[in-house]
């Protein structure tokens, strides 16, 4: 089978987010980058599916030249090859991102055959538009199930579990399909050193799409004011236990 996973390079933020001077981006001078957490599970799922069923797994991203790191990371975990849609570092809105991915997926499928499954994260950690995977599915006219915590292949269809209040809703859709997944789907593995070394020589295709004028146009970012809480100290060490219990009683939970 063939599985595609689409990922996004995002910074790993600390306790406080700092913006660039023009307030149009996060200042990432001191930050590392990762594959957005939901998509890390997508990568893991793709690798597991191909380990179990044979075939090929592919990772696709739209991002700056440095996003190669995330593609290599994915390949270190077992993805077979990568496609990099290179940007100049400017942010693309969800609609434009989806359009570029659709074009790239169509092109790859024309040369290498269709994907049975395409994984997306339910939403990216940074811009969180909740829509790229769904837009791609619509354009490709494939069923799309969103927000998944469990995916099981059942012959030519796939059983999907979506977390909702009070349990999980189950969907069964035929392949090919697009699935957007959430962290918790699986526990992603760490890359092994041999895996990292293999990743260096795995094939990587790249192209440079043109960024359309965004229809959801970022003007500026702001860090919201704090919640304004000011902690009341209940003491230090085990001596604080009675004060804690009194607080719990006052809150009506004891």
């Amino acid at each position: 089978m063939k599985v595609l996973v689409c990922v996004k390079r995002v910074p790993i933020t600390g306790g406080r987010i700092v913006l660039t001077d023009d307030a149009r981006a996060i200042n990432t001078q001191h930050l590392g980058f990762t594959i957005s957490p939901h998509e890390e599970c997508g990568v893991e799922e793709a690798v597991r599916l191909i380990e179990a069923n044979k075939g090929e797994s592919v990772v696709l991203t739209l991002g700056p030249p440095e996003a190669v790191e995330q593609l290599r990371d994915a390949m270190a975990l077992g993805i077979d090859r990568a496609i990099h849609l290179k940007t100049d570092g400017q942010e693309w809105d969800a609609e434009s991102t989806a359009a570029a991915l659709i074009e790239a997926i169509r092109a790859d499928e024309t040369s290498n055959g269709p994907f049975d499954l395409i994984f997306f994260g339910n939403e990216s950690a940074d811009s969180a538009g909740f829509q790229v995977g769904i837009r791609v599915a619509y354009a490709l006219a494939r069923p799309c199930v969103a927000g998944l915590k469990k995916v099981t292949l059942e012959g030519s269809s796939v059983r999907c579990e979506q977390e909702v209040e009070g349990g999980r809703d189950v969907y069964v859709v035929p392949l090919p399909a697009v699935l957007t997944v959430k962290e918790g789907l699986n526990l992603p593995r760490y890359p092994s050193v041999p895996g990292k070394m293999r990743a260096r020589s795995k094939p990587m295709a790249e192209s440079t799409p043109t960024r359309p004028v965004p229809r959801l146009e970022l003007v500026k970012l702001a860090v919201p004011a704090g919640q304004g809480r000011r902690a009341e100290s209940l003491g230090a060490g085990s001596a604080a236990a009675p004060a804690v219990v009194e607080m719990l009683q006052k809150a009506g939970v004891l």
Partner: protein, 850 residues
Amino acid sequence: MSEPHRPTPPHEWGGGLPAHARCVVIGCGIVGNSLAYHLTRLGWRDIVLLDKGPLPNPGGSTGHASNFIFLVDHSKEMTALTVDSVRQYRDMGVFIESGGIEVARTRERMQELTRRTASGRSWGIEPISLVTPAEVKELVPYIDESVILGGFYTPGVGVVDSLRAGTLMREKGQASGALHIAPKTEVIGIDVGAGRVKRVRTTDGDIEAEIVVITGGVWSPRLARMAGTRIPLTPAVHQMIDIGPVPRFRGAKSDIEHPIVRDMDTNMYERQAGGDLEIGSYAHRPILYDPEDLPAVEQAALSPTEFPFTQGDFEEQMQHALELMPEIVGDESVGVKYAINGILSLTPDGMPVLGESPDVKGLWAAAAVWVKEGPGTGKAVAEWMVHGESEIDLHSSDIARFHEHQKTRAHVRARAGEGFNKTYGIVHPSEQWASNRNVRLAPFHVRERELGAVFFEAAGWERPQWYESNAPLLEEFGDRVTRRTAEWDARWWSPIINAEHLAMRERAGLFDLSAFTIFDILGPDALASVQCVALRQMDVPVGRVVYTPVLSTHGGFKSDLTIMRLGDEHFRVVTGGASGMADKKWFRDQLLPSAQLADMTSAMTTVGLWGPQAREVLAGATSDDVTNEGFKFGTCRTLEIGTQRVLASRISYVGDLGWELYVPIEQGLKLWDTLWEAGRPHGLAACGIGVYGTTGRLEKSYRAHGNELETEYNVVEAGMAAPRVKEEAFIGKAAHLHHREEDPAAILCTLTVDDHQSKSGEKRYMLGREPILTRAGKRIVDRKGRGSYVTSAGAGPSAGKHILMAYLTLEEAVVGNQLLVEYMDERYPVTVAVAGATPLFDPENARIRS
């Protein structure tokens, strides 16, 4: 430290910061915690220890250190600090002994490991041993022993919990009631007035302080700049990954159960960390940052000194780790769980930055200190602050050692970058830096180039070590010049040095001495000021030159130098470039109110002229009286040489008749040319520092600071005690008088090598720092616990011997006594030629007085 201070009762501290403190220590890393604790232990009170980060891990380099400690370093000072640190860590119960092995993949590295064994023995590290690949495999079963040739095993190597140690030391300091700790308190300014530190301004208020210590690790330069001074270090990346879970380590009972492996040839290490394996590297390109580049605590994803891992810099290292430990690193189930570019401090010469700032009184530094030497350094600097001197001689780490150009950003970055990849390097004792050269050039540099000078650097000065144009002398002196066939012994060396030496001894030699540090002490209190620093009597007639030890409070050697009395209220101090800046600070610190210090280093240049023909040469250039009667040894005066007025000083560090000649720097070239012309008929040879610093000096058993002369040894032991001690007070006098009363624990001796033949048949020549052993192969340790090692080594071409100097116990310091020196894992017979200061060559000193 005798400054008066107003104690602040603890109750005034309230919840916030005290308004006054005797001492503010900035930075709660391993060294700040240790230093603050030791200050309390030594009796100081009203100490505030603060950090901008939270506790127990404020986010500096201590927090992400790999925390292992290898004991042996070629530097005696560093080894001593490390050994003391291990003792402290052990006492605190945070040391786990794991053993450590440095493995070799190449023959050159195996040779280096034999050198490390020798250094280990010199500094008294026991046990240590060279081990075979099979023995390594037994100790570290997951290693592929086929890629190594052997290893250097130190069972005493271990791992510490440096954060816990810091907490314990803070707690002990607090328990004494002398230490106030303020985390999350950022320093925003350090106020200085009249050259003294006054106040530390913080986000939580100001503290008036008598003493401020910067222990801020990679942030130290930023703090120093607040006080208008500099701490020359640069933050740099050390890459580290953690892989696991390792099946073999499943159920590990402690953090580490197998020896740490240093894969020296690849600049890497591998150590067990609980169920994981930690792999570190110093192999990547130097990645340097500016202190301003470091993020705020809250801004960082991990900590401000754990930068995002740059995988591209670790590609080769993965391969190397895989080669050495395929069982673990090649295991597909073992994942990379954590990977960082950890930030640590690098200095331009690889040593820490300790001591009081030469620019701001009361402002101290203890920076560029790693976890392995942290507690020992904290203790040593605390002793220095409280007693004026530390038990361990810290001269190689003294913040005052840096010359101005060595504190520039560009120099720090160039040298730190160059030094980084030598972290596990095979560094020859004479190895020269490649970066930022040609900073200070003698006025006759152009002539030296014409003569094919091979330049070595001293304090930024380019000094000829020897001259290739002297190669014909090799033929002239034939067999009297010893050749060296072993590449290591001959590296950074030439037999031409020995030929130049012989030319000087037989005719005359011209020396470039521009690297001297020269400063004048002037004013009504000039005499009293030099008198209190110098051991020897300085109340001498104008025109006298005095060579004198400079003692520490405890009577050890702070320095040795010459002082000329140029006038009633005018003394000129001449000292070496390496110790010059520290000496200058020492003199300045002792200046009485009516005395000034003027640095003449860049105003004067110096040419040396020595040899039996020196007088003829000089007489050919001057009509002034330079006869023995007219210009006595140990005097100085101005001569007219051609059109120049030259300050001539009749002393010698090479043991021959001659003068040091001082002129304004712009006239140096003219002086050189005049002497060169005058010397032509007499066979004058340009001679390099190879003669001045080694062969000429050693034949005369002249001592050198940093080699024989350290604060750990005293004047009597060095054989330099004069018949009488001057009446006047001077620093170290009480101790010196005491030393004269007691039997010395050791005596400085000159030894000669009896047989150079190694097992392979090749002749080998020791280069210094090797252990001296008894004929039975035992270490020689004096009653103060100091082991015997070669303090200086080099050829004695006129003596026809390879000469070693070493301190020996009284029972071994007997002329004719036969001992051994260990070199490259072999032992060579040596004989004590001189016990004490009598020169090997020309013992009556007839030549210099002729």
